[in-house]
């Protein structure tokens, strides 16, 4: 039997008001919740974030004390002392997060494991270009990944590397306060490699800026993904999972 053609529908009214996101998915209930980031990984993310901010604030004071303490007596104020204490304590927290994350490279799920750090498949490079075009407003829909897309993999792995260099150079500098001690001896290769302890200091200082520059871009792109693509990535780093369209195919869904 043939359906009676429907009479022409009147166009619905234009939506009023301003909304940044154009693609508000239908409230159809056809969603599934995918669990991506295990609790240890999320906890480490936020701990590391706090530690890095504390490290940058105190680190810049240590690098160049941007205010000085008044008063003639030095017995009472302990400004540099506290700055250094907070710096070293936060560094300890950051190292702890690195250790847990390192273990989670082996123990984590497929989105967290070592292989997920590197976009090495040919399809990753194609999709990285697509992602770049999306950011250049030349592509409507970015490649859909459940976990990190190739560009994220590359930049987050880069940040891990920067953090690793910060930790290593930091220990080399810290070790000098106890000459001949375990840290001093264990990290003696760092100044040897860098060309002197002052070069270590220089590298440690410059890379702080790399971390600082990363922060606004990271926050912006996360917010952009949430508002524009409705990916729910921000909630995924809090609750561990995100809602996705039940029918949407994801590039990395079947990855081992």
């Amino acid at each position: 039997m043939s359906a009676t053609p429907l009479p022409p529908q009147p166009a619905p009214p234009r939506p009023r008001g301003f909304t940044l996101g154009h693609r508000i998915p239908p409230p159809s209930g056809e969603y599934r919740w995918v669990y991506l980031w295990d609790a240890p990984l999320r906890a480490m993310h936020w701990l590391a974030a706090i530690a890095i901010v504390a490290l940058a604030v105190t680190g810049f004071y240590i690098g160049k004390p941007y205010f000085i303490t008044g008063g003639a007596e030095s017995a009472d104020p302990f400004v540099m002392g506290w700055m250094r204490f907070i710096h070293f304590a936060s560094a300890a927290v950051l190292v702890m997060t690195a250790i847990v994350r390192g273990y989670w490279l082996l123990a984590g799920n497929k989105f967290e494991r070592f292989a997920a750090l590197f976009p090495v498949r040919p399809r990753d490079w194609v999709n990285m270009w697509k992602q770049a075009k999306f950011y250049m407003l030349m592509e409507r829909h970015p490649p859909a990944y459940l976990g990190h897309n190739p560009m994220q993999q590359l930049s987050y792995t880069g940040i891990y590397l920067v953090a690793a260099v910060m930790v290593v150079t930091g220990f080399a500098l810290y070790g000098q306060s106890n000459p001949g001690g375990l840290i001093n001896r264990g990290f003696a290769w760092v100044p040897a490699l860098a060309g002197g302890i002052q070069m270590v200091r220089f590298i440690h200082h410059v890379l702080t800026w790399v971390l600082i520059i990363f922060i606004p871009m990271h926050i912006y792109l996360a917010m952009r993904a949430d508002t524009l693509e409705r990916t729910g990535v921000i909630s995924s780093i809090i609750t561990g999972g995100r809602f996705v369209d039940a029918k949407e195919k994801f590039i990395d869904a079947e990855d081992a």
């Binding site: 998915p25 409507r140 070069m199």
Partner: protein, 382 residues
């Protein structure tokens, strides 16, 4: 077997006679030996042994050769307004042969040196000041027609141990700074088969030299050294950790420029480029000029002269970070970093603005909006 003083040796006086002539009593000398033992960390009970070793007639000879250098190290050792016991002892025991100080000259000096080395072969202590230029077959320093490398190798051949005295002998110092035109290197880069101890500093403190020589004479070996061959008793601690201004550092009280309020109050010199946090030296304890003062005490930041490569790595002397590549990057890195950080923030704001403009255009184009479930234009991908 016994070592006869060469004919050019100024006097046949023993160390004991010389000290007595200069008015140093036995008691004072013993106290001095005790303090040396404490400095060396071997305990006061070794003092009689050390005194005997220093005064012994048949102590090992000490031969001092001077290569590519400014003689500042010798000056540091001998030139004190009021010679300390240490200086006298060092003069007496260590200047058997010294290019600058000996009376003889020319062939007489050269053959006397050769004779002294031959007589004491395998037993003498060799003190070297100055670096060894290796570029162009070492032509940048020759003495008596022989290059510094040849002189050093010959002298080192019969040495029981070698003291590389001063930054030049340690690693090359100013002549080894970039671009190092003469290819200057330190002693330990030429002599690999003999124990070499580096008395770092430009110049080093005389007491460190005396203590090291005394250690060798007393125990027959060089003192324990750190990773860079510097004796731990002297270079085992960082200036920053022994500095009397450390309380100001911890308090956050800094000299911001010379002659400011903080400078007058004697605050920490960190902000004006003090390299104390990266420098291992006994300056705060031993001090200079008969324990009168030392650079930081006098209000000048430490320049890190006991560290290898300090002319390149510790410069600018009045800045905190090294001057990478020699074009002042150190002063620019914070400006650059801040510019990039602000640029990144501005960039994301601009990108967000561009995105929303783009979105509004997109939405206009896809209007009218239809039933979102119908799969028409402007509705989500399935």
């Amino acid at each position: 077997m016994s070592f006869a003083a060469p004919s050019w040796f100024p006097a046949t006086e023993s160390v004991e006679d010389e000290l007595a002539r200069r008015g140093v009593s036995r008691r004072e000398f013993m106290e001095y030996c005790s303090s040396l033992c404490i400095v060396l960390g071997v305990g006061k009970s070794e003092a009689p042994r050390m005194a005997a070793a220093i005064l012994a007639d048949r102590r090992p000879s000490v031969i001092w050769i001077q290569l590519q250098e400014c003689t500042g190290c010798v000056e540091s050792v001998i030139r004190t307004s009021e010679p300390s016991i240490g200086t006298l002892v060092l003069d007496q025991i260590s200047l058997d042969f010294s290019h600058t100080l000996m009376a003889a000259a020319g062939h007489a000096a050269e053959s006397a040196a050769a004779a002294a080395m031959a007589a004491e072969k395998g037993k003498y202590l060799l003190v070297v000041t100055g670096s060894i230029p290796l570029a162009d077959d070492g032509i940048y320093l020759t003495i008596g027609g022989r290059t510094a490398k040849v002189i050093l190798e010959e002298a080192a051949e019969g040495a029981a141990a070698i003291i590389a005295l001063g930054a030049c002998a340690h690693w090359g110092s100013v002549q080894a700074a970039r671009p190092n035109p003469t290819g200057a290197v330190g002693v330990s880069e030429v002599i690999k088969n003999r124990p070499v101890v580096n008395i770092a500093g430009c110049p080093p403190i005389a007491d460190v030299v005396t203590a090291t020589v005394a250690h060798f004479l007393t125990f027959g070996r060089l003192p324990a050294v750190d990773g860079d061959g510097r004796p731990l008793f002297a270079y085992g601690a960082r200036i920053h950790d022994q500095c009397p201004k450390r309380a100001n550092f911890d308090a956050g009280q800094f000299v911001e420029k010379f002659d400011d309020e903080g400078a007058r109050k004697g605050w920490c010199l960190y902000e004006v480029g003090c390299k104390g946090p990266a420098t291992f030296s006994p300056c705060p304890i031993f001090q200079w000029n008969s324990h009168t003062d030392w650079p930081i005490g006098a209000g000048h930041p430490c320049i890190g002269c006991t560290e290898r490569g300090f002319w390149d790595t510790m410069t600018p002397f009045y800045g905190r970070l090294p001057d990478v590549g020699g074009f002042g990057i150190e002063s620019k890195v914070d400006i650059l970093g801040a510019a990039l950080a602000i640029g990144a923030t501005a960039g994301v704001v601009a990108h967000a603005a561009a995105t929303s403009v783009h979105q509004m255009r997109e939405r206009k184009r896809s209007l009218p909006v239809v039933d979102p479930t119908s799969g028409g234009p402007g509705t989500p991908k399935a």
